[in-house]
């Protein structure tokens, strides 16, 4: 009896060893933040790769807590082969630790927009690839309501404020500006300030601000916050006032544009908000029931720069399978499926524009491709203690009514600490 059991055990372990040896080279694990329709789209994009190469791609949909999971797994020496890196600040920290694989000469990014290759590089070395992007400098509105009330699309900051005043005079509320986002509450406000900063201070000063070469108490930084205050600081401009801004979930926020009469008229948010709009209001048609205009320029010197963010992947292990998968995901073929399904903007220049599911996304992709100045979300580029810490809480404090100088001094103190000066 015992002998038999031992034999079975031996056979089973032999099979598993052989199995591990046989399949170990045919497998690649990838940890991602996406869930729901995004996860489905990602798995769909992987199908041609798996069929062609026979490599088994094990997708680990970790979710929004991926940065925390990665820290633990890297520290334990057990990271996934490839992981989504929603936070470039974290990617830099991993690269500095030597945990990331340098992708120079491994992944072909010659067809990628240079801006995104640069963004994926750390100290001139490629440490990741972008597979898609979102454009943030957009204001969503309801064209039917605008037409019915005779509102025009504003093309300058004073025009934007004029329109806001006109809406108030007509008894409406101009802005839907919900910032609540669970553990990430605050990012909506930081996006506003970044977009304004690009327009009032220009890209060079913006970069200096990101790298903390100018302090948070610098007049240019303060000015950007004050412009944001011209909108968020007015109870009659924002749906629900400051309390509404601080407590309404960002994904629910644009729904205020589609009630009758509208609870609010404008919503500044990235391309990805469209999926929230469509889920909550299934009947709406892009371009007819809702549309976008570009967040208007403020200083004529700096024109209309664009702010955005992207979906970045980085590798923790260098195996032939990892190389194959990254090259595939960098290709136009993969990005056409991924972006076509979701309405994200592709990074590979060879992607056929016909794949974009609606006119708004197609227009955003065109804007991104033709942008004179594009900058990545500053809060994502800063050290996390600032970009996902005091910058977020600083925005909340400012909206709560804490004096701007106090807010900026507090962020500056944490920045001095976090940038290691």
């Amino acid at each position: 009896m015992l002998k038999r059991a031992l034999t079975v055990l031996l056979v089973v372990s032999l099979i598993s060893v052989v199995g591990l040896l046989g399949f170990a080279q045919q497998k690649v694990t990838i940890a991602i933040v996406w869930s729901g329709t995004e996860l489905e789209a990602f798995e769909k994009a992987l199908v041609p790769f798996e069929e062609r190469t026979g490599i088994d791609v094990v997708v680990e949909p970790v979710g929004r807590d991926l940065p925390a999971v990665l820290i633990a797994r890297v520290a334990a020496g057990n990271p996934p082969d490839i992981a989504a890196m929603p936070n470039p600040g974290q990617a830099k920290e991993f690269a500095d630790q030597g945990a990331l694989v340098c992708l120079d000469g491994i992944v072909d990014v010659s067809d990628h927009s240079k801006a995104f290759v640069d963004l994926a590089s750390i100290d001139g070395k490629l440490y990741g690839i972008f597979i898609s992007a979102d454009l943030k400098s957009l204001v969503w509105y309801n064209p039917k309501q605008f037409a019915a009330r005779g509102y025009g699309v504003p093309t300058s900051w004073p025009a934007l404020l004029d329109l806001s005043n006109k809406i108030v005079a007509d008894g409406g509320i101009p802005w839907a500006l919900g910032m609540e986002s669970g553990a990430a509450t605050g990012w909506v406000g930081t996006d506003w300030i970044e977009d304004i900063m690009l327009r009032t201070a220009g890209p060079d000063l913006y970069d200096k601000w990101v790298n903390h070469e100018i302090p948070w108490t610098h007049p240019a930084v303060k000015k950007a916050w004050e412009y944001f205050g011209q909108i968020v600081g007015r109870e009659d401009y924002v749906y629900g006032g400051a309390t509404g801004a601080l407590t309404i979930f960002f994904g629910d926020s644009p729904n205020a544009l589609f009630t009758d009469p509208p609870e609010a008229y404008m919503h500044r948010q990235a391309t990805f908000i469209q999926s929230f709009i469509k889920t909550a209001n299934p009947g709406l048609v892009a371009g007819e029931d809702y549309d976008v205009f570009t967040f208007p320029p403020i200083s004529p010197v700096f024109g209309t720069p664009l702010l955005g963010a992207g979906d970045r992947l980085a590798a923790f292990n260098d195996t032939p399978e990892v190389r194959a998968l990254l090259n595939y995901l960098a290709s136009a073929e993969a990005q056409e499926i991924w972006c076509g399904e979701l309405g994200k903007l592709a990074i590979n220049k060879n992607v056929d524009p016909a794949i974009y599911p609606d006119p708004i996304t197609a227009r955003a992709a065109k804007m991104l491709a033709e942008a004179d100045t594009f900058r990545f979300d500053a809060s994502d580029l800063m050290p996390t203690a600032v970009g996902c810490g005091t910058f977020w809480t600083g925005v909340l404090d400012y909206v709560c009514g804490i004096p701007l100088n106090t807010v900026l001094a507090a962020i500056e103190a944490s920045a001095i600490d976090a940038y290691g000066e």
Partner: protein
């Protein structure tokens, strides 16, 4: 007699080994890390600790933990005690007790999500999706942002969630102890002319005291580590930060090994006195039995 000397070690051995690996070693390593820098590379002395006691956010967390300890413990235990004694006289005791105990069966994150909806805010005029604001507006009031009213209302709103979850637990333990008190003692007091309040003060409470103490210290230990409710509902924004949430942020958001370890050590030091009291009470109780 050799077996006699070996036997106890055989029994506690596995437990001891597990304790050393999963409790003692991590604790000592955490203490070591708390004296190192962000990436756990260089020795930085006490600077992680001085940061804790000088930074505004961690001091707020410290204050809020104190608030939690006082309010949460007081109300959970006293509600639990009142319910344990009063429900004994009710015919539907079992059903009522089950209902009060149910929140304990819900995960903390689930309960927090439910309460986030209770406190939800919609501007005046719009349909209120939050229960509390729906009641307020139905009574003619203006809706409030309960979770952003710094620094007292929002902290109280969070503490209420904790009390809601844990009152049932306190009630069950205290009720079991109450049912163990011989009825004759209360009967005797009543025959001697004591009113109900006097029976409670002079007979029931002294006999329940050891259990109350154990429940209280258990609650204190529990609430010092409070994390889930705050993480889910406000993430420590708007002056609601607590020590454990700060520790999580320093570790998993800011990747600062040194500071998060220092916070962990401070939390451990805060919990130790409560633990000692708890163990001492427990052994006393065992001795009485």
């Amino acid at each position: 007699m050799r077996t006699g000397r070996l036997q106890p070690w055989l029994f506690v051995g596995p437990a001891l080994i597990l304790l050393v690996f999963f409790l003692l070693y991590p604790s000592i390593d955490t203490i070591r890390l708390s004296f190192l820098d962000k990436r756990a590379e260089n020795f930085v002395g006490f600077s992680n600790y001085t940061h804790f006691f000088t930074d505004k956010t961690t001091l707020t967390a410290f204050r809020n933990n104190a608030l939690w300890v006082v309010l949460f413990t007081t109300f959970s235990v006293s509600f639990g005690l009142a319910l344990a004694v009063l429900l004994d006289r009710v015919r539907y005791e079992k059903i009522v007790k089950s209902i009060i105990f149910i929140p304990m069966a819900i995960s903390m994150v689930g309960a927090s999500t439910i309460w986030k909806f209770v406190y939800a805010f919609r501007p005046a005029g719009a349909p209120q999706i939050g229960l509390l604001n729906a009641i307020v507006t139905a009574c003619g009031g203006r809706p409030m942002g309960w979770l952003i009213e710094m620094p007292w209302i929002n902290n109280l709103c969070l503490i209420v969630v904790g009390i809601w979850i844990n009152t049932g637990f306190c009630m069950v333990i205290l009720s079991a102890a109450y049912k163990n008190i011989p009825r004759e003692l209360m009967e005797a007091a009543r025959i001697d002319g004591a009113n109900e309040w006097q029976v409670f003060r002079k007979v029931i409470l002294p006999l329940l005291k050891p259990t109350v103490a154990v429940v209280t210290t258990t609650m204190v230990v529990f609430v010092l580590k409070i994390f889930d409710i705050v993480y889910v509902m406000t993430n420590g924004n708007f002056s609601t930060e607590v020590i454990a949430n700060r520790m999580y942020k320093e570790m998993f958001h800011f990747m600062n090994f040194g500071r998060s370890s220092a916070i962990a050590v401070i939390l451990l030091l805060l919990i130790i006195p409560a633990l000692i009291i708890n163990v001492r009470r427990f052994t006393e109780q065992e001795a009485i039995r």
